[in-house]
């Protein structure tokens, strides 16, 4: 057993233990870790966008290519900060929000139907084997669960909807199982770091 002498490994181990201390109860170590994570992540994203987007685009488009309309977009972006200024100018933040929402929704309206339409076309596949038939029936019942307008008035939709609910629970169960497994593997990684990298206990 060779305990690590690397200060970074010690900091990593103490951070890990501080977070796991929450499993016992809320305590000052957990609070320090929690506040540190929020602060450092925010700062990291600031540095990331500063060096990855803001400065390179000013250099490329404004300084090298003389695309001065970028200054207009930059000024529009500054209007976001009006949200935190006194009441009379807060509405100015709507201008950049409107541009961003419009640009994003243009893609949603034009592009987003592609994937669902492909899925819908795939659902209408030829019924070649038992699994295809089961899939189609389960899909219909799952749809019936969402038929709120017809609802319980139709017995077919009512019974189908009940079966559909079970289908949805199976689907959520698979997602739940995969999520648990992902989290457990993260926990095992942290545990192996504490035992092997920090305390030097050989595992596996």
């Amino acid at each position: 057993m060779h305990v690590s002498t690397d200060p970074q490994v010690w900091i990593m181990a103490l951070c890990t233990l501080a977070v796991y201390s929450y499993l016992y109860k809320e305590n000052p170590f957990w609070r320090l870790a929690e506040y540190a994570l929020v602060a450092l992540y925010t700062s990291y994203s600031v540095a990331y966008y500063w060096h990855g987007y803001l400065i390179p685009r000013i250099k490329t488009y404004v300084i090298e290519r003389h695309q001065y309309y970028y200054i207009v977009f930059g000024l529009l972006g500054l209007l976001y900060y009006c949200r935190y200024l006194p009441g009379k100018v807060q509405w100015l933040a709507r201008y950049p929000i409107a541009v961003e929402v419009g640009w994003g929704l243009g893609a949603v309206i034009a592009v987003s139907p592609r994937s669902p339409m492909q899925q819908l076309a795939d659902s209408m596949r030829p019924l070649k084997n038992v699994n295809d038939v089961i899939f189609f029936l389960l899909l219909l019942t799952a749809f019936m669960y969402f038929f709120f307008t017809v609802g319980k008035k139709s017995p077919v939709v009512s019974v189908g909807g009940k079966i559909g609910r079970l289908v949805l629970m199976v689907a959520l169960g698979t997602a739940f199982g995969n999520t648990i497994q992902g989290r457990i593997s993260l926990f095992l990684q942290r545990l192996s770091f504490l035992l092997a990298d920090w305390l030097g206990i050989p595992i596996g």
Binding site: A39, Y53, F73, R83, W103, V167, G173
Partner: protein, 221 residues
């Protein structure tokens, strides 16, 4: 002025983007800059919109500062931690801006503090999910039981322990065989219905914004 121009801006940018996406030749239309370089017009506008959003990169810092300075001033519960947060917030941001993403100290803190804090916090969910599963079992409804049984089979099918208990080569393909069937048939059917429902809801909301019927994204007067 306060509502009308933003709504017009939304509709104009929405139409421009939709036209770019739908008309192939427009998407490929290139412009030449004074320095001789060429770029797609779509990419140029898209970069400008992203640039506009990136200018707001200090919004998060500003918001955190407002909240935590308020905590310190009013001496609210846990206010000393707000000082800790502000010191780290500004210290690390200044370090990052001065040193750059590849900076020695910046990178050291990222790997030494952010990575373990982040992955450990995510792994905490393993414990809370386990307690949620226990509570779901206590409900004793058909739906909750079904969900838990499926989750168990999926986990067993994914691990070598599951294969050791019920081998892949035995009846029904073991846990792995059942897992594959669950993933490909009922799971695919269930999530397809959920996805199509989400799409219809999202698309209707998008069309409402495009028609100017939905204005809540602009906030209240």
């Amino acid at each position: 002025m306060r509502r009308e121009i933003p709504i017009i801006l939304t509709i104009v940018f929405l139409l421009v983007r939709a036209l770019f996406e739908l008309i192939g030749p427009l998407y490929d239309f290139q412009i030449t800059f004074p320095d001789g370089t060429k770029e797609n017009l779509f990419t140029t506008i898209s970069n400008a919109v992203v640039f506009m959003s990136v200018v707001a990169l200090f919004m998060g810092m500003w918001n955190l500062t407002r909240n935590h300075v308020g905590n310190i001033r009013r001496k609210r519960e846990n206010w000393p931690y707000s000082i800790w947060l502000l010191v780290l917030l500004y210290g690390y941001a200044i370090l990052g801006i001065i040193e750059g993403m590849e900076g020695k100290h910046f990178d050291w803190i990222y790997n030494g503090v952010i990575v373990p804090l982040d992955s450990t916090t995510l792994s905490l969910l393993a414990f809370f999910i386990a307690s949620a599963a226990y509570r779901a079992f206590r409900v004793r409804s058909l739906e909750a039981g079904l969900m838990m049984v499926v989750a168990f089979i999926i986990m067993m099918g994914n691990t070598s322990l599951g294969n050791a208990i019920w081998s892949q080569t035995s009846w029904l393909g073991g846990f792995k065989g059942i897992r594959d069937w669950l993933m490909n048939v009922p799971n695919a059917a269930g999530f397809r219905a959920i996805n199509l429902g989400l799409f219809i809801g999202g698309y209707v909301a998008a069309v409402r914004v495009a028609l100017g019927l939905e204005r809540r994204y602009l906030g209240q007067d």
